[in-house]
Amino acid sequence: MTHPIDRRRLLTAAVLGGAGVVGATAFGSLAPEAAFAADDLTAQAGLADPNFAEGRITGITGGVLAVTGSDNVLHRIRVTDATSIWKLRPTTLDRVAVGDGLYARGARLGDGTLAADAVWVNIVNLHAHIRAIGRNVLSLDHRGQPIVAHVVPGVTAASYNGTPAVADLSLLRVGRHVQVLGAWHPDSNEIDIATVYAAAN
């Protein structure tokens, strides 16, 4: 009989192991898609999720992020070799900075630290209208607020009505509604675009 991997135990071991972080590959991938499959419905629907955190980074010490939640709750988030980090693209901890915003999912340890499976840095998913299109930039209206959305060559892609994402943004039109997945520039109204989803109508 096979036993399911106890994810909390694995991550705890990884955290407590320090430099000898347990290799995720020994148990299979800890990439987000696989990591999320290990979660279940234990947290009550509708309630705050203890294995999730959001907020702004106020300090980075070793592999621990000090984060102040938007509701002023303080979080300690442990990043290990097994943690996937996204900041416009998959990246590493050295690209994360104080002042960045984040969402994180993982397992809450006994001392309250969140051992992170995945951290999404500055990620935004905005619904907006296109106000203007410039060279490598879109001017967006998001809930009445102007957003400057930068095209990042080699990263930015467009999905037109659900088609596979392509680098060609030429089919975007002023006035159209779009969903923009991207990375926020902290303390500004600017973002970098990862994917722009454009409706057909």
């Binding site: 987000p32 898609e33 629907a45 509708g46 999404w120 998001h142 009505n161 926020w184």
Partner: protein
Amino acid sequence: MAAYGEVSWFCCGSAWGPCGSTGHGACGTCNSGSRQHAWPNASDACFSITRPDRCGESITRRTCGFLHYTTNRCNGVRVATRIADCGPQTDLFCGERVCCGSVCGTNRIIDLTPSAYSVIASLSTGLRPAMVTV
């Protein structure tokens, strides 16, 4: 009865960045860190905005606090959430289709909070084919 379509995510409640301008949603309880979702037919006023019928979708009226289960059809993982807001605005993306391999979903039928969406998929995916059940 199951509904098939697309799932995305949205932020609500106290938040950083561009999300900071959002409130606690139509139900007044929505928070990004809670396992909640937006439903396009949460009230008459909500339906008049989202108009899933314009995309051929028959979405049942369900109000604040109603429990749904959303399954990511790419990996079979599901999450339980309660209605906390009105959305998505289905008619703005009529006919939109997202696939992973041969599994596809058409039209936006539910939006999850980041907490909920990250249970079933990476936030960086943005959009997934989904099944919604009660």
